[in-house]
């Protein structure tokens, strides 16, 4: 009898993927709710790590006709002391009911694991990048260069040697250009020839061959081919994200934490849209410096507050390293709103003249102490300034946050699909 043994391990996996997607699609609203809920309980660092979610089984239930209740008979193994006619006490209500450990059908919640991508997709599903097409249409695309076959004219740097040689060879064969071996052979025959007549004949043939060789060049200008290039528009697939933060003494740990959470969300969001995302951390007191992430969030610093210094630093970095036609530039500034009074004018000028024209998006996040009583008071100096700028038409997004739980709603609000949220005027 023939026995087939087959190795299926190399078969493409993910056979259930489509069923899984169907399931997720069907349960979308439920899963989305669960994702948001789960993400609030989590640390922002692993907020998007995927993982387990629980959804109510209600919409996902597969009903069957099931019987329950009534008198029950059962045969069990392992009798130790019972004899016929004994009575066993019922232990509590319905504890004798065996709830099958099946598909969790007997429970009202269904737990399963989402992959990281699925999680992020659901998490950011109803968000999109702000529509800046009108301002930035030239910058979102740049010209790229792409090979496109060969051409007979071009610059010497673009000569395609292999193609040229190939054509030359074909031509030489076609025109029967004598090869070097042929000539060598003939010369050897002349040297070895004893008979004068024969020798003269051979020399004549050699002359003919040499003349032919001269007439048919090894490489003719006809053979030369150049690599041809075509220009193609290419969307900019990279973004840089500037994190600006006030680290002066008035910023508490709590405030920094809020800012950090916001930056994280922005990073994840950009990461999903662009192949390559760079982050630049700029912290400032009364002077600004570019730092690494660790220093940015945890490094000690003290001093006064000059917001313009950070904007100036950002401007310089953009000029040096991030050409706006190659990069999508996003910036988020977090501050408690303090700024020295005299700095206001310079800040406003820098922002409107230098920063905003190159940015896709600029968000200002004003963070406050937990409890948020400060917000009942009058607006901070920075807020007042920015609000004035915005009212005069500068494309600024600004929000106030004082609780961790507000971060996501605020983020969500900023990036909400505009068609659904047109009427929601920003505060």
């Amino acid at each position: 009898m023939a026995i087939h043994i087959i190795d299926r391990r190399l078969n493409p996996g993910g056979k259930s993927l489509e069923n899984r997607q169907r399931f997720l699609r069907r349960a979308k609203s439920l899963v989305q709710g669960a994702v948001k809920k789960t993400s609030q309980e989590r640390d922002i660092k692993d907020v998007l790590e995927g993982g387990e979610v629980t959804i109510p089984l209600d919409g996902m239930h597969e009903p069957r006709f099931r019987r329950e209740g009534g008198t029950r008979d059962m045969v069990l193994p392992g009798n130790k002391k019972f004899i016929e006619g004994d009575y066993l006490q019922r232990s509590g209500q319905g504890s004798a009911k065996d709830s099958g450990p099946g598909e969790g059908d007997s429970e009202d919640a269904f737990r399963f694991v989402l992959s990281r991508d699925e999680f992020v997709d659901l998490f950011l599903d109803d968000l999109e990048l702000p529509d800046l097409a009108k301002r930035k249409i030239a910058q979102t695309e740049s010209e790229g260069i792409q090979r496109a076959g060969y051409t007979t004219s071009g610059s010497p740097a673009n000569i395609s040697v292999s193609r040229t040689v190939k054509l030359a060879l074909a031509r030489r064969i076609a025109l029967k250009r004598p090869s070097k071996e042929e000539i060598d052979e003939l010369e050897a025959a002349i040297a070895a020839a004893t008979d004068e007549d024969e020798r003269a004949e051979l020399v004549l043939r050699l002359e003919k061959l040499k003349a032919k060789t001269k007439r048919i060049p090894f490489i003719d200008p006809l053979d030369i081919r150049y690599r041809r290039y075509e220009k193609v528009p290419r969307p900019v697939a990279q973004a840089v994200m500037f994190c600006l933060m006030d680290v002066s003494g008035s910023m508490s740990e709590h405030m920094k934490d809020l800012a950090k959470r916001f930056y994280m969300l922005l990073y994840v969001f950009l990461k999903r849209r662009y192949k390559h995302v760079e982050i630049v951390f700029i912290r400032h007191t009364d002077r600004a410096e570019e730092v690494d992430e660790q220093t940015f969030f945890y490094g000690p610093a003290s001093g006064g507050t000059l917001v313009s210094s950070a904007l100036q630093a950002m401007h310089e970095i953009v000029r040096e390293r991030f050409n706006p036609s190659d990069w999508n530039i996003y910036a988020a500034q977090a501050s408690d709103g303090d700024n020295s009074y005299s700095d206001g004018e310079l800040t406003g000028l820098l922002l409107t003249e230098k920063i905003l024209p190159v940015c896709q998006f600029f968000a200002y996040l004003e963070v406050g102490e937990s409890g948020g009583s400060a917000f009942d008071l009058s607006d901070s100096s920075l807020w007042t300034l920015y609000e004035r700028l915005r009212n005069s038409g500068a494309p600024l997004s600004m929000r106030k946050v004082s609780e961790r739980s507000e971060i996501f709603p605020v983020f969500h609000d900023l990036f909400q699909r505009r068609d659904t949220a047109q009427e929601k005027a920003a505060p």
Binding site: M1, A2, I3, H4, I5, I6, D7, R8, R9, N11, G13, K15, S16, E18, N19, R20, Q21, R22, F23, L24, R25, E52, M60, E62, P63, R64, F65, R66, R67, E68, G69, G70, T71, R72, D73, M74, V75, L76, P77, G78, N79, K80, F82, I83, E84, G85, D86, Y87, L88, Q89, R90, A96, D98, P101, E103, G104, F110, R111, F112, V113
Partner: protein
């Protein structure tokens, strides 16, 4: 000395080939088994999870519920709550066995013996499988079903198809013929039939018919109740069959989908009726083969001990007051009964002679067992062959739990002379699928009136339907029927216990 099949735990495909050959030799020569050709496939854990979610079949149509099962299994597997099976075996010809790549060489030997010979023999010879399944055709049929569902989705939209399948799945447990009909099921014929039907529709299609004015419908003379029920083939317990044939407003493709779900339910019907026997047979076969290979010196003592370790785990039966207890383990009960039969045939006591005069001392162990495997299902198998000795050994007892009884749960019978027969009958009944599933039938349709479909549920021992589930299933049923559906629960004396009436959701009118 004979050559060893393998050393240590490692294996490669040559080892598998040697193992299979060795198992085959024992299975066919010593045990006299009769099997389908074998096809052995090595798969990964992920592929095993895939197989889990499509009820163990290698291919299946797409449906969200399988995705749900996959998500569930994956979650519990990742957390380590659930181990995966060592193998999955498919009742098809050739008989496909999936082996996990993680298994050691000993485990591969065990599962080849278990699945490729034990289960395989059972599938090929048991009367239920012969009667209800078409091993040759099943894989082609599933392929057809998969493509058909896909085509329907393209033509009629995913939501429509999904809704029909949801409804069909809800009724799946009541889409089974329990009594054999005139014709053997031929799944290959099914596929051709669907193709022919479609072709015929295309050939006779003429758009002009749409424009022909409809005459006033002729008033039908009322026909008698008896006549009407007969015309509709009532009472009918196969709800899916009834809908496929008689639901007034289903589109042809919807009927075909119901038919597909019904055929698949029917294919699995024998498996649910023979869990104890099927596993018992396979376990007994692997035990015999492994022991034989060890005796021949083809498996080392160490490997044999490894086998005994897993074998013992498989046939472990916790007692009722054990935390791990969750009913009878079909492997344990089945294997114990097979071994017990072996003992009765080869080495009977006086008690056995009295209880089993037909087989006691007959001495042809494999002959008797092969006969048992071919001609019984769990219920009849237990009712016939559970011996007093085994009942004593497992210390079985029967509890009767009547909620009306204030004193508590009564111990009705135990493993003694007075109780043997009652315990055995009760255990057999626990394994009778016909007794476990709710007994629901279509009894009447009010064709001349509001077309209400009337079903009866015969309540046994006061056990009624779960209300929420029943309503949901009935909703699906009503959506397919497109008119009201009533389900009446009646007890043995025709007293009405409860009545459900469900109307179809309006959206189905589009169908």
């Amino acid at each position: 000395m004979t050559e060893r099949l393998f050393e240590g735990a490692d294996w490669d495909f040559h080892t598998l080939q040697r193992i299979t050959d060795a198992c085959e030799e024992v299975a066919l020569k010593d045990l006299g088994l009769d099997v389908y050709p074998n096809q052995i496939e090595v798969i990964t854990a992920e592929q095993m999870l895939d197989a889990y979610s499509s009820v163990g079949m290698p291919l299946f149509y797409k449906h969200w519920s399988f995705g749900k099962h996959f998500a569930y299994h994956e979650a519990s597997y990742r957390k380590g709550l659930m181990g995966l099976a060592y193998e999955i075996v498919i009742n098809s010809s050739p008989c496909i066995s999936y082996l996990m790549e993680e298994n050691t060489a000993t485990m591969q030997t065990l599962v080849i013996a278990h699945a490729a010979f034990g289960h395989n023999h059972f599938f090929k010879n048991n009367y239920l499988f012969k009667q209800w399944t078409d091993a040759e055709g099943i894989l082609d049929y599933l392929d057809f079903a998969k493509n058909y569902v896909m085509q329907c989705e393209e033509r009629y939209g995913r939501t429509e198809v999904e809704r029909t399948l949801d409804a069909a799945h809800a009724l799946m447990s009541h889409g089974i013929d329990r009594y054999p009909g005139k014709k053997q099921l031929d799944l290959r014929e099914e596929e051709k039939r669907a193709g022919r039907r479609r072709q015929h529709e295309e050939e006779v299609f003429n758009d002009l018919w749409r424009t022909v004015p409809k005459g006033a419908s002729k008033a039908r003379t009322a026909i008698s109740l008896e006549r009407r029920r007969k015309l509709l083939g009532l009472p009918q317990e196969n709800l899916l069959y009834f809908l496929e044939k008689s639901a007034p407003r289903l589109a042809p493709w919807q009927r075909e989908l119901l038919r597909i779900v019904r055929h698949i339910a029917q294919y699995f019907y024998p498996q649910s009726q023979t869990k104890v026997m099927n596993e018992g047979t396979a376990t007994y076969v692997h035990y015999r083969i492994m022991t034989q290979l060890h005796q021949q010196g083809r498996i080392t003592d160490g490997n044999f001990l490894e086998f005994l370790g897993s074998h013992t785990n498989v046939v472990f039966q916790p007692e009722f007051d054990d935390q791990r207890f969750s009913g009878f383990n079909p492997y344990a009960l089945g294997f114990a009964m097979m071994q017990d039969i072996e003992r009765i045939v080869a080495n009977p006591s006086d008690e056995d002679r009295e209880w089993f005069p037909d087989i006691a001392g007959k001495n042809d162990v494999m002959g008797v067992l092969r006969d048992v495997w071919a001609n019984y299902r769990d219920e009849s198998f237990i009712a016939q062959f559970l011996s007093p000795k085994l009942m004593r050994q497992l210390r079985m007892f029967h509890l009767h739990d009547d909620p009306e009884e204030r004193a508590g749960i009564r111990v009705d019978a135990i493993h003694d002379e007075r109780g043997f027969r009652r315990v055995r009958r009760e255990l057999a009944r626990q394994h009778d699928v016909g007794y476990i599933d709710a007994n629901i039938e279509v009894v009447d349709v009010d064709l001349s009136g509001d077309r209400r479909l009337i079903l009866h549920h015969r309540v046994i021992k006061g056990s009624q339907l779960n209300e929420t589930d029943a309503k949901r299933v009935l909703q699906h049923l009503a959506d397919l029927w497109t008119y009201d559906v009533a389900l009446i629960e009646v007890d043995g004396s025709d007293k009405v216990l409860r009545e459900y009436v469900v109307s179809p959701r309006p959206i189905t009118a589009a169908a």
